[in-house]
Symmetry: C2
Subunit: 235 residues, 2 copies
DNA sequence: ACCTGAACACCGTTCAAGT
DNA sequence: ACCTGAACACCGTTCAAGT
């Protein structure tokens, strides 16, 4: 059975199993998240995909929560921020948040992570830094910028989350609209009157609504500044 | 073994086990949520607390998701909205959202539900109706009111969620502040410059910050109105 | 140092069987 | 109509044992 010519034949009949590493684990986890949504993000599924046992992962990752923060940041790696040199600070800001929204749309489950895990990875920080810089350009005070960036990121992530969780289960949307349609207009007159406006629904309407919210927040953030907090909102 | 006097003796030697009902299930679930946070909300734990098997619950409740919406609304039952007759619409609005925030603070896990499940129960709707009415009083357009109410509720719930999830795990807060403290100021100059403002931290600061956000959103919502969407935010 | 197997203590949901 | 037991197909995490 030996090869008499002793041609060096690799003892590895097939490529060696990739050794584990934090990087492969995060990448695999992200793939699962993209393919199956947030329920795909489980230690056991990741382990199975890597052809090993779940306990092996704990060498590279403290627990699922820590892994989640890595996965979020890995997903945010796709984010491309517009060059700050081009365009106004406002359009750059809108474009950046739009890009954020798009990334969250494209990987179902990522929006939930963005809402649930602490964004302290390099890509999260880069986005934060970018937005802070645009707000600063726009003349926002330190407080406005520091607190406003949270508001803007939260808003964007939650719009994405609402959308993706609506897609996930088609039933839910029906439940909602049915509920609102059958409301007692005497008990909930405002809701009854506005129910059509509240659910624009179509995709173009969604984007328009997203933009509307962004503008509203931005206006408010820039104007509220660090004036003495007063009761009068319209002053 | 028979009682010869035939005195009517209850066959029930102890009070009959409360028959199951959606109401007891929801109440028990909420108690668990309050005591153990969101991880306490499980079919099996609820069943155990009711001294039955998990399968029994499915007679009264479709699944955990549906139950979650009931639990959220049950928790919101504690919400007391200020009488609309007293005070200005603005102070009523602030008070209502403050009450909402307080309820979410007081029942750990409720904030997560508010962010995650669809609020179509009567108490959620009452809160929504109340806020819509105040915005209407304040002269908001239909669109501003309809879209603004979402923004205000989302903001409040997320402030509560961030706070409660910070309390849950004391480690996390340290991780965050450490990360921000050790950031490279060359790579993230804005974050480095503003890191102290971003984490006011103390409780009074939290409330102040909450109020600041509310005012910012309100300002923006009222002003953005239904003007033609323009690029210029400051106009 | 890394990986494995096996175990522990959990999940949600279904379903045939009982009353 | 309601409740039960048992099962199915999952979870995250730990730990002694191997190499």
């Amino acid at each position: 059975m030996n090869n008499p010519t002793r041609t060096p034949v690799s003892r590895r009949s097939r490529p060696a199993k990739d050794p584990l590493s934090q990087e492969v684990i995060v990448k695999t986890a992200f793939d699962l998240l993209e393919r199956e949504g947030s329920s795909g993000l489980s230690m056991r599924k990741i382990a199975k995909a890597l052809d090993t046992g779940p306990s092996s992962l704990y060498v590279y990752v403290k627990n699922l929560e820590e892994l989640s923060t890595y996965v979020l940041d890995y997903g945010l790696g796709k984010l491309v921020l517009p060059p700050a040199a081009d365009g106004s600070w406002q359009s750059n800001l809108f474009d950046a948040l739009n890009a954020y929204l798009t990334v969250l749309y494209e990987s179902p489950g990522l929006a939930e992570l963005a809402l649930t895990t602490i964004p302290i990875g390099p890509h999260s920080l880069a986005l934060m830094e970018y937005i802070l810089a645009r707000l600063d350009e726009g003349g926002a005070s330190s407080i406005s910028a520091a607190w406003g960036v949270d508001l803007l990121l939260l808003y964007t992530a939650s719009v994405a989350f609402e959308q993706t969780s609506r897609d996930r289960m088609g039933t839910t949307l029906q439940t909602i609209t049915e509920t609102f349609r059958s409301l007692d207009p005497l008990r909930y007159p405002m809701i009854a009157a506005l129910k059509d406006v509240m659910f624009s629904g179509d995709e173009t309407g969604d984007l328009q609504r997203f933009r509307w919210g962004l503008e509203a927040i931005l206006r408010g953030v820039l104007q509220t500044g660090d004036k003495a907090p007063g009761r009068d909102v319209n002053a």
